[in-house]
């Protein structure tokens, strides 16, 4: 789960990491009030959306007066940044920036460590720095949740060319503890800033929380911004389905994430365009099949549906019952192709005889049939 910059800064602040003072604003009026509460001076008006590149998209503006804040807020609220509409602003006191650096803690998949990435090149896209000047990136990790003290000390000393080493080390220690305590998958400060007065502060913040850990981080659930989530995908999750909306017109319902991905690949391979990713999981509950149909057809864009099931623990006859139930309770007016293989496939296919469903013997035949029917051709 991703959270907003201001929420990340809230977690930073609570963990003892210095951040600039700021206020959240949901309207132009609130933005002006926030400016006044902050005591005037220079402020940054920052769009709060779950996407990078806000600055370039016009989502971050500096303002010095109430009128300028008003103007900036009017310009940014409602702005579309890479498909994310701005509903929230973060109004933050301007900082006296002397130097910028980069700091993050991530899960390093390759070495299986919780790792720091640190660089004196702050404020830039770190992947670009890594690509062009890999020698400017320091990386070191922990295998057992203990803070990598020695390497962190060295890195802290290098970040601002010797200045602010103590502040930087303290932030590293606190960021690492926050990462572990809150089950994060990424915690990034870019830029980490050395101010004119020698303090080190987090000028930006980006946090991803491990979805698998939400079961023990219930208090972080309130940080979820429903406007940043796809309602269909959230609904799917509540019903035990993995669903991702895509742009095409071939709906699909598959058991297992791997087979669901392979189904999308094969739809593309045969010139079709999938409307969604949907993993019904290992359960044979007919209710799940009904819910899956609802999600697939909700977009209104779907011209044909492919159901691709390889029964292992899942029994194909249970899936067939679910499909028939869905046809009884819902108005399904697009062609639906069904391929059942594995456990009880024969029984499942027998149940479907005489229904509107179109059987297919193999995975590739099913994909080709669905695409043809989606185009209005005979399969």
């Amino acid at each position: 789960m991703n959270i907003h910059e201001y929420q990340a800064k809230g977690l930073f602040k609570a963990a003892g990491i210095p951040v600039p003072e700021g206020r959240i604003a949901l309207s132009v009026e609130e933005a002006v009030t926030a400016f006044e509460e902050l005591g005037g001076g220079i402020v940054a008006v920052k769009a709060q959306v779950h996407v990078g590149g806000r600055g370039k998209a016009g989502g971050v503006k500096l303002a010095r007066t109430a009128d300028e804040v008003k103007e900036a807020a009017e310009a940014i609220l409602g702005l579309d940044i890479k498909g994310h509409i701005v509903h929230r602003l973060w109004i933050e006191k301007g900082s006296d920036i002397k130097k910028e650096a980069y700091l993050s803690v991530i899960l390093e998949r390759s070495e299986k460590t919780i790792s720091f990435i640190a660089s004196a090149e702050g404020g830039m896209d770190i992947e670009e720095v890594a690509d062009k000047t890999p020698e400017k990136i320091l990386m070191f990790g922990s295998k057992d949740y203990s803070f990598p003290e020695e390497e962190a000390k060295k890195a802290a000393a290098e970040l601002f060319g010797g200045e602010g080493a103590e502040g930087a080390l303290e932030i590293m220690r606190k960021l690492f503890a926050l990462y572990i305590d809150k089950d994060l998958q990424m915690a990034e400060i870019n830029p980490l800033v050395l101010t004119g007065s020698g303090d080190v502060i987090a000028l930006d913040g980006k946090i991803t929380i491990d979805d698998n850990a939400m079961m023990r981080q219930a208090d972080l659930e309130e940080l979820r911004d429903m406007k940043e989530e796809n309602p269909a995908e959230l609904e799917a999750k509540e019903k035990g389905l993995a669903f991702i909306q895509l742009d095409g017109d071939i709906g699909c319902m598959v058991n297992g994430a791997g087979l669901a991905m392979a189904t999308l690949d094969m739809i593309n391979l045969y010139g079709g365009d999938p409307a969604n990713f949907l993993d019904v999981g290992g359960s044979s509950n007919p209710e799940k099949v009904v819910n899956a149909f609802r999600l697939i057809l909700a977009g209104g864009n779907v011209k044909a549906v492919l159901i691709n099931i390889f029964g292992g623990i899942t029994r194909c006859d249970d899936i067939a019952k679910g499909i028939l139930k869905a046809f009884e309770t819902m108005d399904i007016d697009v062609p639906v192709v069904v391929r059942l293989a594995g456990t009880n496939a024969k029984e499942g296919n027998e149940l479907l005889v005489g229904s509107k469903l179109i059987p297919a013997a193999t995975f590739s035949e099913a994909v080709q049939k669905t695409i043809s029917l989606g185009k209005g051709e005979d399969a």
Binding site: N212, G258, D279
Partner: protein
């Protein structure tokens, strides 16, 4: 022959009195797996499927001489369950549980390596040596004993390829589902090493996935170290960037971990790459003269 498990493997089931643990313990026993007991804290002394239940892994190992354990406990208890198995020095630990917080795996992974134990999973279907033993949730009836090794991150794709191979008359030595999480106990290279040591495994099919760089590393490793012929298939070519495709590990970020980079790496290492699973089965059949 087979790798990792055979008819002599003595298995305990952690979470044997739970819904999934009990069901799959029954399935394993029915398949012929030598299940010697189970563990559920607080339920020691009971029996499940006629097998003794113990309060701790340590007790279970002492009483039964188990040399493998399979874990079906809920995600929030998975870390503790794997830790208990590590502390009891069980040489083969299989964690089926899905949804394990990824940070939980960091220390477990390194402990297993340091002790020289083997961990498969989490979030995996387990493994099967057809006709000998199955540990996990794979459906036994689609497998046939034979000479092709199977390694995959995904359960259903393992079933698909096994089914396609069996239909072409090609049996399997062992099928291993390594799991779809960002950190899994054994990677493709670990399992390839086992297959390479097995004189009767004559070819290996490998089903990779988008995300991370494990497939790229595996390709280079095969070129240097593996003499058994390997065939590869990568799923997820059509996945959009930045979206996790079901498996927590299956995510393309920037140029890292795309299907194209992985396919290219395998081809560069001399590993044939199939566009579909059927094509991969056909490639293997051709090698064995069964096309």
């Amino acid at each position: 022959m087979s790798i990792l498990i055979d008819e002599n493997t003595k298995v305990i089931v952690q979470g044997i009195t739970g819904r999934d643990g009990s069901f799959h313990a029954g399935q394993m026993i029915e398949y012929g797996t030598n299940v010697v007991g189970g563990v559920t804290p607080g339920k020691g002394g009971l029996h499940e499927h006629g097998k003794p239940v113990f309060n701790s892994v340590k007790e279970a190992v002492e009483s039964t001489g188990a040399n493998a354990t399979v874990i079906y406990v809920p995600a929030k208890f998975a870390k503790g369950a794997v830790q208990e198995a590590i502390d009891a020095d069980i040489p083969l630990i299989i964690c089926i549980t899905e949804g394990v917080p990824v940070n939980d795996m960091v220390s477990l992974y390194h402990q297993v390596k340091a002790k020289g134990l083997k961990l498969i999973g989490p979030n995996c279907p387990g493994l099967i040596s057809p006709g000998k033993s199955k540990i996990g949730i794979m459906p036994g009836m689609i497998c046939t004993p034979g000479k092709v090794g199977v390694i995959s991150r995904s359960g259903t794709l393992t079933y698909e390829i096994v089914y396609a191979l069996t239909n072409l008359g090609i049996g399997q030595s062992t099928c291993v589902g390594i799991g779809g999480d960002p950190i899994v106990g054994s990677n493709f290279r670990d399992i390839l090493d086992e297959f390479d040591k097995d004189p009767e495994t004559e070819a290996v099919v490998l089903i990779g996935e988008i995300g991370g760089d494990e497939e790229e590393k595996t390709a280079a490793y095969i070129q240097e170290n593996i003499s058994t012929p390997v065939f590869a298939y990568i799923v997820g070519a059509s996945a959009p960037e930045g979206r996790t495709m079901g498996h927590a590990g299956a995510i393309v970020s920037g140029n890292v971990g795309t299907a194209a980079t992985k396919q290219k790496a395998f081809r560069a290492a001399g590993v044939p790459v199939a566009k579909t699973l059927d094509e991969m089965a056909a490639m293997v059949a051709e090698k064995f003269g069964k096309a």
